[in-house]
Symmetry: C2
Subunit: 399 residues, 2 copies
């Protein structure tokens, strides 16, 4: 009686697995600045909380498998606001963006099929690839050139007869890169040429800096039948615990298959769907002050990190993550050490080790991901602590 191979080999979340070390630090009375997980400190918008508190049904009953029509319409309207033509019939509400990833992987591929993903990538793709037995084929990017996508030839070299899709996350988790229209054109044309699905993870769509605008792969009319977007309200409305996401596609066969998987799990959470409707009704105007707040934080963090000797930092144009190369051999060991052996005035910092964001063995060992989900003043303090910790670690542990 042995558990499955996928159960044995599935990756422990690099974002989550170090939590026990954090718990022990907290027990010792250490204050931790949590920059390891994208759980924003921006207050959840009032209309969401009000909708939760005014839930007035007599019975907390099942909703439709594909989600409430009003929410699907609100999401279609939201994209229409970005001049992307969608209808409620293109949207399936899911239990978080997570479930949208699962359904999408399962609909585009069978066990052993391949999806090409630029790495470093959102680490939880690994968990779903294990669950659905999809093989992630990484396309390794480099911090030195800002994690830009490689040439057509380099991308095409990854395509095999098992390749079903290319997945692009933009703005990117964990790098913060926003792919340019030219980079998207390149990938879309490869998708068309090789008859592949194009999966877009654009959950950080609103968080774009330096005057850039976001281009969605949903904007490519010539590829509209091959595009599946996984979406989530978690970051958009600072409500990660709500677990409301969506599969968005204009491919009817993909939609119907995802719907059948959705039927098997009955429905997404009822209360949070109602809260999400209230959120979307705020309109696109909600996002600008939040976007500005994250842009300021990015600037504070980027400047602070650039002043620490030995770091290689890619300046992100979007999302709220930064991938950083450290002057250490084993970044995970450093991250743990910061929790177990270091504190500055009883305070320390937690970040995520980079290795879990790669699927190529040995990559990312000296990297970390930092989520700038704390306010400027906390970020500045965290930078002081981080710098002091890194200096001490290098002077004592890796001396």
């Amino acid at each position: 009686m042995e558990i499955s191979r996928r159960g044995q080999t599935v990756q422990a979340s690099p974002i989550r697995k170090l939590k026990p070390y954090a718990d022990r630090a907290l027990e010792k009375g250490i204050k931790i600045y949590f920059l390891n997980i994208g759980d924003p400190d921006i207050p959840t918008p009032r209309p969401i909380l009000d909708a939760v508190r005014s839930f007035n049904d007599r019975i907390l009953a099942y909703g439709p498998a594909q989600g409430f029509l009003e929410l699907r319409q609100a999401i279609a309207d939201y994209f229409n606001g970005y001049r992307i033509p969608l209808t409620s019939e293109n949207v399936i509400i899911t239990c978080g963006g997570s479930e949208a990833i699962l359904f999408t992987f399962a609909v585009v591929g069978d066990p052993g099929d391949e999806i090409i993903i630029p790495e470093p990538f959102y680490t939880n793709y690994n968990g779903y690839a294990s669950l659905a037995n999809i093989k992630i084929v990484p396309l390794t990017l480099k911090v030195e050139n800002g994690y830009r996508l490689p040439s057509v030839e380099e991308i095409e070299a990854k395509i095999t007869r098992r390749t079903k899709a290319i997945l692009l996350c933009s703005p990117n988790n964990p790098t913060g890169t926003v792919y340019s229209p030219q980079e998207l054109d390149r990938v879309v044309s490869i998708g068309v040429k090789h008859d592949l699905f194009l999966i877009g993870d654009e959950v950080y769509k609103e968080f774009i800096y330096d005057g850039l605008t976001h281009k969605s792969i949903l904007e490519y009319e010539e590829a509209k039948d091959r595009v599946v977007v996984v979406d989530s309200i978690s970051k958009r409305f600072s409500c990660c615990g709500a677990r409301i996401g969506a599969v968005i596609t204009r491919n009817e066969r993909v939609y119907q298959a995802a719907l059948k998987f959705a039927q098997a799990r009955l429905c997404p959470p009822t209360i949070e769907q109602k809260a999400a409707i209230a959120a979307y009704k705020m309109g696109l105007g909600y996002f600008e002050p939040v976007r500005q707040e994250y842009e300021r934080r990015r600037d504070v963090l980027y400047e602070g990190l650039c002043s620490i000797p030995g770091l290689v930092v890619g300046k992100p144009q979007g999302a709220f993550y930064m991938s950083v190369r450290l002057p250490v051999k084993d970044a995970e060991r450093f991250v743990i050490w910061m929790l177990t052996d270091f504190a500055l005035d009883k305070e320390t910092v937690m970040v995520a080790p980079g290795q879990g964001f790669y699927s190529t063995p040995g990559k990312g060992l000296d990297e970390i991901r930092i989520a700038y989900v704390l306010n400027e003043s906390d970020l500045k303090r965290a930078l002081v602590i981080f710098k002091a910790g890194l200096e001490k670690y290098k002077a004592t542990i890796e001396a």
Copy 2:
């Protein structure tokens, strides 16, 4: 660019797929008695709704991947109340019982591995088997002998080298059968002898009639390492839209693997976990009046159905479902006809066709599942309509 085979072959939910016919009937002004889906009309307990309405966090943030400790402890306490020794460390909170099924399938088996399940069975196992590429091996039961489990030899005949587990749902959906201690003993001893996992779906644990008591497979100390129970608060507390379930196991390797899949999807819904804590705090005393209500409904429905000529009805001892053989060739056609072509004083009845609860092709064609989730008065009216509809169908369509 073709979607996956699993996406092409995954079953449409027999509970959900006929909804468009129901919608059209509603549009025509027909009132429908919905007996097709286990969405109870028992009001959600006040403490659950109060907990939702008093949600007072500033940020609707992620919780732990395995669920809040307080809820895991509350669930352990609940089972302790039935003298089943569990701790919070044996519980992982999931997004509905649905996700618990998915994690359990993925942890016990790899693609192509087999799980033996008595049929008819809860139809959504099919959806998750497709998603996880698990092969369900059905063990066909018969209404004529009350859906009792067959002999050791007949069960063992289904075991191959790919068999990883036997799944028992008791009280059963869709038959209402409650397996006797002797039947459980038989399956547990087979599990031990052949070194298999034993999966228990006991979400209807409280709904047991005729003075019977529920025996859980968690009570078998000799098999404690091989038992995984999928649990849910949906029916227990009449809150199907909450999407809170659990994987329960004392097998540490199963737990750790399920936890890693749980980490990949970050966390279950935050608000409903707090509501669930409030629910469990009501104590076991909450269940008795609800149980009595369902038992009365079962009696009303069973007597009513027995008075309709040509039906074969298994008298359920638990849950709130009844599987019924109809004197028709194609029960799905009849179910649709009831929605499209029949009404009695502008009212009709919707039930679930039986075929989707079987995985053996051709089985269940003349069966339906009825969920007695309406009050006695509505059930009585539904019986009148159902009987009239069946008579007319037989006289006109299958004459």
